[in-house]
């Protein structure tokens, strides 16, 4: 299991109710279910991935986060998880609002477009950055709204969303973001992990 999921899992207490939005093949769901006795549901757009989840005995609904989150009542999950997909939505703001409506808390992770490798790629090559976490060409990428960790922090602040915990992953090392180190983390982190609530 990738390090990101370990970090997410550590943010969630045992026996909680969790919705994994864009749960893919259910790796995180399975871990939460088996190791933390979590009552976990998934929402996934890909039919193949839904089938994989069913084969693992996971409860998953085929659907689109932009349309199908509205069927869940307010605060019906303790945590709603969204891993590295916020940037792929037509309207990330609406999805974020929905995550925080459906979940008492939300865990959102974003690939950091402010990472130095991305910056150097654009600066020296003059083409859209291709990295390990952003492997697609500009014309085939699902990512419509790339942002940096700093962008996301500013956005969260402007929306008066409470940041309970802000972590970054950098070469599999986890560290906290503080007001003092935001600039540095924004330069070196691969991934931002945000535990938020409204």
């Amino acid at each position: 299991m990738k390090n990101e999921f370990k970090v997410i899992s550590d943010l969630i207490e045992d026996n909680k109710k969790v919705l994994d939005v864009g749960c893919a093949d259910g790796t995180l769901m399975q871990f939460l279910k088996e190791n933390k006795n979590i009552n976990v549901r998934g929402l996934e757009i890909s039919k193949e991935k839904v089938q994989e989840c069913i084969a693992k005995g996971l409860t998953v609904i085929e659907g689109n986060a932009e349309k199908d989150l509205k069927q869940f009542p307010d605060k019906s999950f303790d945590y709603v998880v969204l891993s590295q997909t916020l940037q792929a939505f037509l309207s990330p703001e609406l999805v974020l609002d929905e995550l925080l409506r459906v979940g008492k808390k939300a865990i959102v992770t974003i690939p950091n477009f402010g990472n130095w490798k991305v910056r150097l790629h654009l600066l020296f090559k003059g083409t859209m950055p291709i990295t390990k976490s952003l492997p697609e060409q500009w014309h085939s990428t699902p990512n419509l709204h790339m942002c940096t960790i700093k962008d996301f922090v500013d956005f969260i602040k402007s929306k008066e969303i409470k940041m309970i915990k802000t972590l970054v992953l950098n070469n599999n090392n986890v560290s906290n973001i503080t007001n003092n180190n935001l600039g540095t983390k924004n330069l070196f982190a691969d991934l931002g992990i945000f535990l938020i609530e409204k």
Partner: protein, 376 residues
């Protein structure tokens, strides 16, 4: 209509009050089982059949001498594995494969019921079938499942008996029969009643057979079970055993010949009055109205695990109508999974060899059963 042999029946002595207000008692329910019930009696699956189905789910149907209607899904090592599970299916009341229906004799007059048989509903059907649980001493079914009208019975069953099933799998169905579906059913009924041999439903006494009307009903319905793409790919404009058009009204096209064949074989196995009664039951099905507009209330007392399945090319019970069930369940925090299977075989997909569907069904059942075993 059918021979008595090979048909197992259970006589229900308890009176059953029907939605129409009448009460029936001492009536037969014809059923069939596959596999064996284990010692804990926790491996039973109740399967509900669709409009023209019957209790003979799989293997050779002893009456029609054809494969059971769900042979692709049910059997040893199949999606519903009869090596593992005990499958029960019964003919719906109103049907014509041994259960109490319009071809039975009215105990009071000793005449064949015909249209004097009470109008029955999906609710009546499941209330009658509930007696099977007592018959087998099953406290809780492992699963209930069915497609189309079978799916309606699944929804009604778990509504009426919320703690009697562990898992619930409605397939290609709806919680409320749509205007379009009522319209197609009405077309079928009109075809039957317009046949002069129908004789107001008393064709048995009159020794006539409204086979032409019933065949037309079947032909019209059959089109609704397929998709445009499926039909086009299978038949296109191919001609039937001829080089060119004949400039007449014979079956020039293969699709015409196919439909005529479907109509003619159906007449041999199905009763015209049963067709009227069962389509009526489908039309009357409106679980949303039963709960005053809030479908969620139908399921609020159950802890069952749901798995809803629809098919991309099913325009009779389209994905959205299946999703409405999912939405109602999610809004009360029920345990529900959902998948839409890609298939160009239309509504009939659930009856056919559609591997993605059969795999999903098998995986869901087997994983749920393992979980059930681990709980103990």
């Amino acid at each position: 209509m059918n021979t008595e042999k090979n048909i197992k029946t259970l006589i229900i002595k308890k009176p059953l009050k029907l939605d129409c207000g009448k009460t029936i008692n001492n009536f037969p329910i014809a059923f069939e089982t596959y596999g064996s019930l284990n010692e804990n009696k926790d491996n039973a699956i109740l399967v509900f059949h669709a409009l023209t189905g019957d209790q003979f789910v799989t293997g050779l149907n002893p009456v029609t001498k054809k494969d059971g209607w769900w042979s692709f899904a049910v059997g040893p090592d199949k999606a519903i594995d009869t090596n593992k599970y005990f499958v029960i299916c019964s003919n719906v009341i109103g049907g014509c494969m041994g259960s109490y229906g319009p071809s039975h004799k009215d105990p009071e007059t000793q005449k064949t019921f015909g249209t004097d048989f009470p109008v029955i509903t999906i609710n009546d059907m499941v209330n009658a079938q509930y007696n099977l649980l007592e018959q087998f001493g099953i406290n809780k079914l492992f699963a209930i499942t069915g497609g189309s009208m079978g799916g309606m019975q699944v929804l009604q069953f778990i509504t009426n008996f919320p703690d009697k099933a562990k898992t619930v799998i409605p397939i290609a169905t709806t919680s409320s029969h749509s205007a379009q579906n009522i319209a197609f059913n009405e077309l079928g009924r009109q075809a039957i009643t317009a046949d002069s041999n129908w004789k107001d439903g008393n064709y048995e006494v009159n020794k006539t057979n409204p086979g032409k009307g019933l065949a037309v009903a079947r032909m019209a319905a059959h089109i609704t079970y397929l998709s445009k793409k499926g039909l086009q790919e299978k038949f296109g404009r191919k001609l039937q055993e001829r080089e060119d058009l004949k400039f007449g009204f014979d079956a020039d096209f293969q699709i015409e010949s196919y439909l005529r064949y479907q109509g003619s074989v159906f007449v041999d196995r199905f009763d015209a009055n049963s067709y009227l009664y069962i389509t009526r039951a489908m039309d009357y099905f409106d679980l949303v109205k039963q709960f005053y507009g809030n479908l969620s209330d139908a399921f609020k007392n159950t802890k069952a695990k749901f798995f809803v399945i629809s098919f991309t090319s099913d325009w009779l019970y389209p994905t959205q109508e299946n999703k409405d069930i999912v939405i109602a369940l999610n809004s009360i925090g029920a345990d529900v999974g959902f998948v839409e299977i890609v298939s160009d075989k239309g509504h009939d997909s659930f009856l056919l060899d559609v591997p993605d569907f059969l795999n999903a069904l098998k995986n869901f059942l087997d994983k749920s059963y393992t979980e059930l075993k681990n709980e103990k």
